[in-house]
Homo-oligomer: 241 residues x 2
Amino acid sequence: MTPGTIHGVGLGPGATDLMSVRADRLVRQARHIAYFRKAGRAGQARKIVEGMLRADVCEHAMEYPVTTEIPVSDPRYNQQLAAFYARCVDHLRALTRNGEDVVVLCEGDPFFYGSFMHLYTRLQAQAEVQIVPGITGMSGAWTASGAPITWGDDVLTVLMGTMPEDDLTRRIRDTDALVVMKIGRHLDKLRRAVAAAGRTDAAWLVEYAAMPEQRVTRLCDAAAVAPYFSILLIHGQGRRP
Amino acid sequence: MTPGTIHGVGLGPGATDLMSVRADRLVRQARHIAYFRKAGRAGQARKIVEGMLRADVCEHAMEYPVTTEIPVSDPRYNQQLAAFYARCVDHLRALTRNGEDVVVLCEGDPFFYGSFMHLYTRLQAQAEVQIVPGITGMSGAWTASGAPITWGDDVLTVLMGTMPEDDLTRRIRDTDALVVMKIGRHLDKLRRAVAAAGRTDAAWLVEYAAMPEQRVTRLCDAAAVAPYFSILLIHGQGRRP
């Protein structure tokens, strides 16, 4: 029997019609879909494809054993996640050995942060894996902001809100355009870093880009905690004839 | 008469089925399309939509008066481009005043570098403009490379090959993951900067990502001059359970 293929499919920032034509076709035809989610939640990737699936689709929800309950620095965090990814890979491999193709739903772009890459590296030697790139969450955010992120020869820096404050400040001072993701509980620290870099007036917070709850605010007007789907932007001011 | 809308539509990195479902629909329905190109060339954006257009579509090619004939630092460069963009805006505005919608074809993502933003800022106060984000050329490149660009809390820096060599070196030394665009004739300088930063072994050159001519090579094996559609990548090595 010919083994099946695993497709890591980027779904884009949130609106269903912002996935690629290739992704749309794969999702609609899929006999098996798999996706990550927090236990007890619907999962954002699964929500994006609501209404698109075959009536006889088999769904494989992969539920994280831990998200924010254990700090990332604790060795148990990595141990539990590594064991979890190994179980997911075994499950997907069993399907492909039976000749089934599987579409793994990925928010944004599969190779830009995100969880699918942890399966990808484990699967690479064992199965046929195809990647469909997607529109990133940050593209969704700067489109929502109504202004281009980079012009001419601007330098763009992408940072995670989890970084130490001094590193954030130094890097925010040293870039033309800025994107910060993974903000959540780090918003106050980030706000201080942006202020220390002298760029508060230029900073925007985009929540739920390309989703029905989309909201764009100046950083100085934002609440104390940002939702999970939040992206901070500073737009470049490069050459513009 | 209700004025028409101008749609700045991201087409993605090159493959027709990597444009979004929203972009695909707008392109297929369009009565008027507009796109930039170098005089005497077909234009990459126009090539991507070949075979998708209505039989009665009106095409508006906007031909750059100058590309690399005058250095960017020469004041005549900016003057000629500014006059050109003003003419384009007048042309598009005349169409919308007659109630026509226009789809402006944009490679990659309209708000990530690119030329459409020069029309966008001029049109904003005068016409209804809608933006459809797209998969960036850099997403196409890291997908082609077969490896994720960023993991965990990696810092990503996006640079233009046009930068001075010392700035390139300093920034390449100071990032986890790297994307360099606008390489072309700057490839030798870039190669020296990557070497000075001690990262030659990690650097990949992707030419024509997501196009039929796609090619992925180690930077040390690349030719002396890179084609226009070339992107240099260094993949991040961040946290991976």
